[in-house]
Amino acid sequence: MPAEVSRALGGPQAALEPAEPPTQPTTGTRLAERALRLGTVAAVAAAVALATGHAWVLSLAAAPVVLIALAAPGSTRPTRAAARVTVTPQRCFEGEPITARIDLAFDGVVGWIDPGVFAGPGVELTDVRTEGPVLTLTFAARRWGRWSLGATDVDLHDAGGLTRRTVRADLGEVEIFPLPSDTELTPVPTRMPNRLGEHTARQSGEGVEFVGVRPFAWGDRQRRIHWPSTTRRGAIQINQYAAERAADTVVLLDAFGDVRDPATGRSTLDDSVRAAAGIARSYLRSHDRVGVVSAGGKLRWLHPGSGGTYLYRIVETILEVRRDLGFHVPQLDRVPPPALPNGALVYAVTPLADERILDVLRDLAERGNPVVVVEIPTGEPKVDPADQSAGLALRLWRLDRQALRFSLVERGMPVVAWDGSGQLDLALAPLLRTGVRGRAG
């Protein structure tokens, strides 16, 4: 960590955790550390000389007094100060840099601009640069969410470093979007809505994929005649093509809890949001309609829509789920019909760690929607290898998880697991062989 960054954060230890800004600093002029040090030494030396009667001790006071006299700012001391903050960009993806430019305005002469940064959660200060009256702070977006970027207290020291004046700059809020998982596959349900799209449906239609031949009917176009079978059967046969339809997809995000893997420290909520963003992006690229429902303490939803920019609306909807962790059970009956169209393919992204999400999945299955459960593994609990009963408990835990998955598959909901590290496509690939069936399909 660079020295100026460490100083701005208040030391290497303070850099490890986000800091809450202290109370509003004093707006007036205060003595700097240097003046306190030199003044204290001079005063103590003079007092000791007076108390002991040792005149030579005054020589110990002479040097700091001269240093103070030489550094006295006179009328050049800044008496007014203001800061203007410009943050770019205010929306970004994880890992991207965020730059906060603080333009300082002051009168007098400033010898040293000393910033103290109280970075908010989700961002990390990586660089501090001072060029004239402009202070540039560079942050790295570390974790998705809608975060406060923090605040900065800028100390303006006079030319001699004896007094300082502090001005606070509030850096505002930023939106950090999750990095979508690397996904391209788009499994579709067996029955899709009657809307033109890119997925090959089981119904015959006007697509380009050949599915068979049928006898000629009045009105068929001559260019569709399949000559080999016509010659073989002695009657005119016509090519048949599959219809191409668009799918309705709804991503159901489990925000009932956030479980940390004891081995890797990964957050299931982080991985869930990345998986949801990846799924939404891949279906939007296929020109399907994608919606989102986040089930947590508060039910949030966005009706299915399409288009490249719709991904940002989806992500903005789920940015708040971290604040929604609560104990309420959402009632899916109260979800407006546009949020969950009939027959829409539902991706339930969940760590399967909360009983309430099972109720939600049961309700979805009863509605007849085809459901795919994307399980975000929570990691196995750590046990002492020497503890026999702990080993048995772990075995029971594994069996319980297997039973849970089996019950979901039995209800017609395939379960695929994604641990957040590999490609989500590998988990979704088996679903391409057969369409996802729901009770309605």
């Binding site: 208040g10 550390e33 030199l38 020589s59 002479a62 001269v66």
Partner: protein, 202 residues
């Protein structure tokens, strides 16, 4: 099962801790610490060590050593008050307390003149070193300019000469010494003013 993420993170943490330990050691044994150690030892009046008993001498030296190693390394962090407790404040201002403690201990003794000069020189060196590390570009600029340390040293020397010159006995050379001391003080003041005017113009 071996977790690659954990096993990959462990050496990194170790190297970070090692680097932090080295940085702290370097900070603790830097030039200000050595100057502070010399100042603490000089403040205990080495000329009087012969008159001390062994146990007292060991206690005095150990105290000076601990004081120097604990409080002399320069605190270069931002002046942010984390707590209003006096212990936190004392830790925050330990450099100031260290210098003041050295002044008190030195002032209580009655050292020879050469040790007085050494005390004054070491105190000035420590204050300049602390400014260079903790006062940002202002302190570094002050150390780069030879005039400011010279002015401070000249003033200190002038006061010491005036304080120790035997000018009250009526001898003729006493007046000469006094005149020299006044001249030195005037020169130091002039140098200081000239340096200040030069700095303002620059």
């Amino acid at each position: 099962m071996n977790n690659p993420a954990v096993s990959a993170a462990t050496p990194s943490n170790r190297s970070e801790r090692a680097a932090e330990f080295l940085a702290r050691t370097r900070e603790a044994l830097g030039a200000p610490t050595l100057i502070g150690l010399a100042l603490a030892l000089a403040a205990t009046n080495p000329a009087a060590w012969r008159t001390m008993t062994g146990a007292v001498l060991v206690v005095v030296l150990a105290f000076a050593l601990l004081l120097a190693l604990g409080a002399a390394p320069v605190v270069a962090r931002r002046p942010v008050t984390s707590s209003s407790a006096w212990t936190a404040r004392a830790i925050r201002h330990r450099n100031t307390l260290f210098a003041a403690a050295c002044v008190v201990v030195a002032g209580l003794g009655d050292p020879p003149v050469w040790l007085m000069a050494a005390d004054a020189a070491l105190l000035l060196a420590y204050l300049l070193a602390a400014d260079a590390l903790a006062a940002g570009p202002v302190g570094a600029r002050q150390l780069r300019s030879i005039r400011i340390p010279l002015a401070a040293a000249g003033a200190s020397a002038a006061v010491l000469v005036v304080a120790e010159a035997p000018i009250s006995g009526g001898a003729i050379w006493g007046r000469i010494v006094a005149a020299l001391a006044v001249s030195a003080a005037a020169a130091a003041a002039g140098l200081a003013l000239w340096s200040r005017i030069h700095a303002l113009r620059g």
